[in-house]
């Protein structure tokens, strides 16, 4: 295939007759990491006879012993090797820049050489991906590719992450890339199920242009994964990794004050100590021995020094997480077989997630017919605490989530002592806190267990009719069967607590009341079937000009079904079956999308597409693509949409004579692309307003329906992304220094949006094509390979940087669009702030819209009352900051000496902001560092002004009017403090040491040169080892977000465990 010819091979003259005594010498070109180097050119020295290696690095050439072969190629250092009598020659070259030599798997699984492409891509090999032994590929990508922003939104056992390539293209719809595994479109969720060890290589197609052929799913870029397919020599690889996780980042807390909330007050108005309080507005720690909790049934009273001695308990409460991964793979001729098991124990005690995966890939060639197939089965079992379901057992309580329960523990209270739920002090009814449940009880009793079975299969057949025509049909399917069971144990309270536990009275009924067990059972299945069929080929039109072409179509069907039912009054304690209940079943109604319950959904897509690519003398490439889609989710009249794209690439270093042999500039390529892509960002069945039965209905035979909250415009049309990009790729000093940069500008029109509207219209939301915005930026990659050589060792250095900004240019009626936030945002305190991600014309998508103090418009300072000294809330909401980073920078230094290497990934994200809901909850509990700032005394509200005279509208600096109460009446006051979102809003800048890997391949002699063993590598790995944040962030990891889905960013709640740090070791044995 002509287009696969490497950079230098095109210069060769082929087909010279062979000399006598020559034979066919076969060989393979591999790099220092054992990875094959594709398309290198192999020339017989002094003779110009030559060939080029294939995609797997294999070549064959006619030569005789003693001949010298010269191996050259883009991005590798050239090498000379003498032909001996050995039948096979293995050529080891050092690869200086993988980006140039890499084969890029583009649309439809077609392999192309990076230098021919008119758009930006990045390819990572297996070694880069598995460097830190991440369980999850998304985690492993972090910091390694320019243009890619991955946010790890919590520290749970699922390692949920949000991935954005080059920012966003949809305000409220999907912004996550498409995933293609071995040519088959696959739901992105599988990225967390596919074992990184199975991945041969991973290509990120960053641009909408690069992905034009994939259609609507690809507007956000594509992650193309090729799994291993086996090789000529059978290899068995065993890998074992153990990693531990510890809490790495804890909010700043006050360490001076204990329990109390004003139940007892002394003559001077100081709050007394209240041994059973959850709020910590009591007196300062004084070292005296004080009561903890109420007197116990056995007559004893817990006591302890009134100090902050148990402050650390709140950190120690979290487990040391443990991740154990074992995998074995067998690669042989035409097949690859692997088994992997990952077992994750989380930071939250008892949280576990286990994944077992089996894969079989194979293929065969029969003449012109090639058949490839692959089957992957993944079983995932998890068992985690169900924080969201906690409130169902304690309606009306302030318990919140697990983190909040921990935060409601004063620092004089020995939290860890309550771990034994059977002990006198640990049992539910005897817990010291009157207003919060023992967090260990929550862990043990409110659970969510789920199982997911995934089957990903594909079969592809292609037939080569002629050198210029090949037909391919690929059928691929993803099936998921998932079931979840949420169980809330019954609350069984002792008679003591129900009658006399609280100094002779019943204990607080909100916590200490019997409650029946609850069960919720959900089962769903998803299937996605994809049929691709296309003709492809290439043809030399005239000498030096070749054309390649693809013409094809796709049919796709997505189906999902969900059945869910629950019971709120289980009759037999600890028997969790939906039929073992009294009263009506809890049958949730379908609320749209695929996140709800009880639904059946079908959607279909048809596409037809064609491409024509032109290659002129190897250095000039042009490609034209056109596609039309028909999408079932729109009305028939809007269903069909067409979009074209084009891109060009010029390798000037192959054209300009002066550069051909330059020692300074070894590679120079310019590229440009323009494209348009259509996208239907819409759930099926979204064109009509719907009705559902409200909570409580039906009552027996009485049914009742209420209008649901959204009124759609039935005339919705697809969104369009108009993408333009230009790029340059440069290689210096024989490609030891490589630089790539791309500027992109995307105009996103016709955005399908949920628009918040006045509840007086009857619908809280409208759904319409309602906004346009521009998304633009520059991405840069700099590779220094090697940066320096120190004796035998070398330091390589890679840095990538992305600047990405966007601006909303139009919204319907210029009304700001609320993307997400307080709507469904989980927060504990009654007095919690309102905060939303919002798109406002002229501002970036997204800004934050939130509550703020009433301020003097002239100075921006907070206005306080002349008498009370208290600030107050402003009626309007303010728009501030941005939720997505302006800069994402990844730095990957590597030090290698012989078989020893150290690799690190650092990253920096900055220019954006985040809000911590935990901050407001902590103020409510009185444990935040903020709330202790003024020693719980009255203080002058900082940077405040007072009105010079009532009604004057003029303000002067407030230097002496103190707030009337510096204790709980200030910190828990909604208007004065805890409902003001700006108090908990901070810069999200962060510098992180994302990954470290120190590995050593043991010399063969150590294990007696046993032939069977090819390689043994041991490594030490670490993740998220260091995190640096600015002082203004007192609360947590700024990447955390309350929701792992959707477009909200930078909104953290207290329903998340603190951030974790991982470290461990790994052993790999290859046979």
């Amino acid at each position: 295939m002509r287009k696969f010819l490497s950079l230098f091979a095109v210069l060769l003259v082929c087909g010279l007759s062979a000399f006598s005594q020559t034979r066919l010498v076969t060989g393979k070109v591999t790099d220092q990491n054992g990875q094959p180097v594709p398309f290198a050119s192999v020339i017989l020295k002094g003779d110009k006879t030559g060939t080029s290696a294939d995609a797997n690095g294999a070549f064959s050439i006619s030569a005789k012993s003693g001949d010298i072969l010269v191996i050259t190629g883009a991005g590798i250092t050239s090498k000379e090797i003498t032909v001996t009598d050995e039948p096979e020659i293995n050529v080891l070259v050092s690869r200086s820049n993988s980006a140039l030599t890499e084969v890029v798997v583009t649309a439809l699984g077609i392999q192309r050489q990076a230098k021919d492409l008119g758009y930006a891509t990045a390819t990572l090999n297996n070694r880069t991906l598995t460097q830190a032994k991440s369980v999850n590929i998304a985690q492993a990508l972090n910091g390694k590719v320019s243009g890619l922003n991955i946010s790890t939104v919590n520290s749970g056992v699922f390692e949920n992450a949000k991935i954005n390539i080059r920012g966003i293209r949809s305000l409220t719809g999907n912004n996550q890339p498409m995933l293609v595994v071995d040519g088959a479109p696959t739901p992105l969720g599988y990225l967390s199920s596919i074992p990184p060890d199975d991945v041969q290589d991973l290509t990120v197609l960053k641009s909408a242009a690069s992905a034009a052929i994939y259609g609507p799913d690809a507007v956000n870029g594509v992650i193309v994964i090729t799994t291993k397919r086996g090789g000529k020599t059978p290899t068995v690889t065993l890998n074992s990794t153990v990693q531990a996780t510890r809490v790495s980042f804890f909010p700043k807390l006050q360490k001076e004050f204990g329990q109390g909330a004003g139940e007892t007050v002394d003559l001077y108005g100081n709050y007394g100590h209240v041994p059973y309080e959850n709020q910590q507005f009591g007196p300062a720690f004084d070292g005296s021995i004080k009561d903890i909790g109420v007197p116990l049934p056995d007559g004893t009273q817990q006591k302890g020094p009134y100090t902050n001695g148990h402050y650390k308990d709140k950190v120690k409460f979290w487990n040391t997480g443990l991740t154990v991964q074992n995998s074995v793979s067998v690669a042989g001729e035409d097949f690859y077989l692997s088994a992997e098991d990952a077992n994750i124990k989380g930071l939250i005690p008892d949280d576990v997630n286990r994944r077992t995966s089996l894969r079989f890939n194979g293929g065969k060639k029969f003449g012109g017919l090639t058949v490839n197939y692959g089957l992957n089965y993944i079983l995932q079992n998890s068992d985690v605490v169900n924080e969201a379901g906690f409130q169902n057992s304690f309606p009306g309580a302030y318990d919140g989530g697990l983190f909040f329960l921990v935060m409601q523990t004063a620092s004089n209270v020995p939290l860890l002592n309550y771990k034994d739920l059977n002990s006198e002090i640990g049992q539910f009814s005897n817990y010291y806190n009157e207003y919060a449940v023992n967090p260990y009880w929550l862990i043990h009793n409110i659970r969510s267990r789920s199982r997911e079975d995934d089957i990903i299969g594909s079969i592809e057949a292609s037939y080569k009719f002629a050198s210029w025509l090949k037909a391919t049909v690929r059928l691929s399917s993803n099936l998921t069967f998932a079931s979840t069971k949420n169980t809330n144990a019954p609350v069984i309270v002792s008679d003591w607590a129900k009658t006399v536990g609280f100094y002779g009275s019943p204990r607080n009924a909100t916590q200490y009341s019997d409650r029946a067990g609850i069960v919720f059972d959900d089962a769903n299945s998803n299937s996605r079937i994809n049929l691709d069929y296309y003709l492809s080929g290439e043809h030399d039109v005239i000498k030096g000009l070749s054309v390649n072409y693809v013409l094809g179509g796709t049919m796709r069907q997505n189906r999902s079904k969900d059945v869910a039912v629950g019971g709120n009054n289980l009759v037999v304690p600890f028997l969790y079956n939906v039929s073992a209940k009294s009263g009506d079943a809890n049958v949730p109604t379908y609320a749209g999308g695929t996140a709800g319950n009880n639904f059946e959904i079908t959607s279909r897509l048809l596409s037809a597409y064609g491409t024509i690519g032109l290659n002129y003398q190897g250095w000039a490439n042009a490609e034209f693509i056109a596609r039309n889609d028909w999408d079932s989710r729109l009305l028939a009249k809007n269903r069909s949409f067409f979009y074209p794209s084009a891109n060009v690439a010029f390798v000037l270093s192959d054209l300009i004579e002066g550069l051909k042999n330059s020692n300074t500039i070894s590679y120079l390529k310019l590229r440009a692309a323009i494209s348009k892509s259509g996208n239907v960002n819409l759930s099926p069945y979204s064109l009509q307003a719907t009705y559902s039965q409200p909570s409580g209905f039906p009552y027996g035979n009485t049914v009742g329906y209420t209008a649901n909250g959204t009124i759609p415009s039935p005339d919705l049309k697809p969104e369009f992304v108009n993408n333009k990009e230009v790029g340059i790729e440069l290689g210096f000093l024989q490609n030891r220094i490589n630089f790539q940069s791309t500027y992109f500008f995307q105009k996103n029109t016709n955005q399908i949006l949920f628009i918040s509207q006045s509840s007086t219209t009857g619908y809280g939301f409208g759904l319409a094509n309602a906004a346009d915005f521009n998304n633009y930026g520059v991405e840069m990659d700099l590779d220094l390979t090697p940066l320096i050589k120190i004796g035998k060792g070398r330091i390589d250095f890679r840095i990538n940087a992305t600047y990405n900004d966007n601006k909303v240019t139009h919204t319907l009626g210029d009304v700001p669009v609320i993307v997400g936030g307080s709507n469904g945002f989980i927060q504990n305190s009654v007095s919690s702030p309102t905060i939303n991600n919002i798109a406002v014309v002229g501002s970036p998508a997204f800004g934050f819209q939130m509550t703020d103090y009433l301020r003097d418009s002239a100075t921006g300072k907070v206005i306080v009352d002349r008498t009370t000294g208290m600030p107050t809330q402003s009626p309007g909401l303010v728009v501030r900051g941005r939720s997505l980073p302006l800069w994402v920078i990844g730095i990957t230094p590597t030090y290698t000496i012989g078989d020893f290497s150290i690799r690190m990934t650092w990253d920096y994200k900055g220019g954006h902001n985040f809000f911590s809901g935990l901050g407001s909850d902590e103020d409510f509990a009185g444990i935040s560092a903020r709330s202790g700032e003024y020693g719980r005394q009255r203080f002058v509200f900082p940077n405040s002004v007072v009105e010079t005279a009532p009604g004057s509208g003029k303000y002067e600096a407030n230097t002496n009017i103190q707030v009337q109460d510096g204790n709980s009446n200030f910190w828990t006051s909604a208007k004065a403090n805890s409902a003001i979102a700006t108090n908990y809003f901070a810069s999200a800048d962060a510098i992180r040491l994302r990954e470290v890997n120190i590995s050593y391949s043991l010399p063969n002699r150590w294990f007696g040169n046993v032939k069977a063993i090819k390689r043994i590598t041991i490594s030490a790995v670490g993740k998220n080892l260091l995190l640096f944040v600015p002082k203004s962030n007192q609360w947590g990891d700024p990447e955390f977000n309350y929701s792992a889905t959707g477009n909200t960013f930078g909104l953290a709640s207290s329903f998340q465990a603190p951030a974790g740090r991982l470290f461990g070791g790994s052993l790999t044995v290859q046979f």
């Binding site: 028909w630 079932s632 049914v703 209420t706 918040s756 219209t761 007095s831 909401l877």
Partner: protein
């Protein structure tokens, strides 16, 4: 070029195959198989949920999660009926009257939600010749619109619920809305004179197709609209009054209007008031933060009012209320405060009141006292006595007639002989008894009456020293959601001060 020809021979058929694969209906799979849509909804499916909502929302839809206070809790507390106990820190917003923009947001949005369903039922009922259902929807809607006006003043009305017209409805003047509600109630009464379809009788979980009762409810609301304006209208509203009493009059003794879709003792299925202030399905008290207010307990206990045993539960020998706005340390904890009694929470399946009979009678008594109407054989005094007695009956006081008579005889403030001679004095006298009959039941009516007539004896104001006023707010602030989504219109209402920006009927 010859190759290209051959190529097209293959490509064209394949391309056709690709498109032929899509049979014409291959893509027609977007009809929702999961939800009810405008294609198949009927007025009769909407009405029961809307009517239930009309009963439940004024009680106060419970806000999700923490705190678990109903959206009308503030009125219960402000007016002296309920208070939070010593178990919980006092609410720094509510007890200081320093209300913010989120304060009434939930209330505002839930009520507009129910009003929209009533609007849909009305439109679809009329379209389907179910005029009775449309009329019933209009009557419930008029009641709720009045209650919204009484809290917020000018609100979206004429442009509400018409997304095709505007997504940002303008605010109508409160007095214009009052005027329009009278007209709509007249229309509803006219509709009720037409045919009543069987399908409405089946869907009517309020009056079970009894059109007379619907007409009387409409008349009661008409009267309540007029009474509310007593302090600002110059002359007696004779024309409207005569319409009311010429056609059935208002609801009388034993004619309480309530709704019950079939409440059962299960999660989310209990009668709303019971669910908020009674016991959970497992028998736990539904609200651990809220108990009797010290103020009302003192009045009831001080007058030997037997209704106290129906409103509240005793603690030891007597009744204990919590002082509103006090430090938690100074007031008794929940288990030593009086909880709600059998007159309010008789059963988890109890009917949810929409308009109690006695309230209608008190309205009628006030209209008589003001001389707005004369009815043969009835006087302000006779109807007043009937109303008080009806309150005793309604609450289930044993031997209600005699108990009521004794109560009225023994207490100067209940004996009509002390009602005074001017209409204004008599009105205050009557309204105070309406207040005592409405404990926990209709706090909004009492809050409105207090703002209208300022009749309450001192002692109901919060004792929180941080309170920003010694008087109750005259109104609520417009909600945050309106400033977010309908800013240009709500901002036209100017700066609202809850203590000085009066509603049109406030003197």
């Amino acid at each position: 070029m010859r190759h290209i020809h051959k190529l097209s021979l293959i490509i064209i058929p394949v391309a056709f195959m690709a498109l032929a694969g899509c049979k014409k209906d291959f893509l027609d799979v977007n009809k929702d198989p999961n939800r009810v849509t405008d294609d198949n909804i009927t007025a009769e499916l909407i009405f029961p949920a809307a009517a239930e909502g009309a009963g439940a929302t004024p009680v106060g839809a419970r806000a999700d999660g923490a705190g678990a206070q109903t959206s009308m809790q503030f009125a219960q507390n402000w007016i002296g009926y309920m208070a939070s106990n010593g178990d919980f820190a006092r609410d720094p917003t509510q007890t200081t009257y320093n209300i913010d923009f989120t304060f009434g947001d939930n209330l505002f949005q839930t009520r507009y939600g129910v009003l929209f369903d009533l609007h849909q039922a009305e439109i679809k009922g009329l379209a389907n010749n179910d005029t009775a259902l449309a009329a019933a929807s209009m009557i419930l809607s008029a009641k709720m619109f009045q209650e919204l006006v009484d809290l917020f003043g000018n609100i979206p009305y004429s442009q509400a619920f018409n997304v095709n017209l505007t997504t940002r409805p303008a605010y109508d003047k409160a007095e214009d809305i009052y005027q329009s509600l009278q007209l709509r109630l007249d229309t509803a009464i006219m509709y009720l004179g037409l045919d009543v379809p069987k399908k409405f009788v089946a869907a009517d979980i309020v009056n079970h197709g009894n059109t007379d009762k619907w007409i009387k409810l409409a008349n009661t609301i008409k009267l309540r609209l007029l009474i509310r304006q007593s302090e600002v209208i110059g002359a007696a509203p004779t024309a409207e009054i005569s319409k009311i009493f010429a056609n059935q009059g208002v609801l009388g003794a034993g004619e309480s209007v309530s709704v019950n879709p079939g409440y059962v003792n299960d999660v989310d299925k209990q009668s709303p008031f019971y669910a908020n202030y009674g016991y959970t399905p497992t028998g736990v008290i539904a609200t651990s933060s809220t108990n009797a207010n010290d103020y009302i307990v003192n009045i009831l206990a001080g007058s030997n009012d037997p209704r106290i045993a129906r409103y509240f539960t005793p603690v030891g020998p007597g009744y204990v209320g919590d002082v509103y706005g006090d430090e938690p340390g100074n007031i008794p904890p929940g288990n030593q405060s009086s909880y709600f009694g059998p007159g309010l929470i008789s059963s988890p399946t109890q009917d949810q009141w929409i308009m109690p009979s006695y309230e209608s009678l008190f309205l009628k008594a006030e209209a008589l006292a003001r001389g707005w109407v004369t009815i043969t054989g009835e006087t302000a005094e006779s109807v007043y006595k009937e109303a008080v007695t009806e309150s005793f009956v309604w609450l289930g006081v044993p031997d209600p007639e005699n108990a009521a008579a004794t109560y009225m005889a023994n207490n100067a403030f209940a004996d009509f002989a002390n009602a005074g001679t001017t209409p204004s004095d008599q009105a205050k006298f009557i309204v105070f008894q309406k207040y005592l009959a409405n404990v926990g039941i209709d706090p909004q009516e009492s809050y409105s009456d207090q703002r209208r007539l300022n009749f309450l004896p001192a002692g109901y104001i919060s004792v929180n020293p941080s309170k920003v006023s010694n008087k109750l707010p005259l109104r609520l602030l417009y909600p945050q959601s309106e400033y977010t989504t309908n800013a240009e219109n709500v901002l036209k209402e100017g700066t609202i001060d809850p203590f000085t920006t009066k509603l049109f009927w406030e003197p």
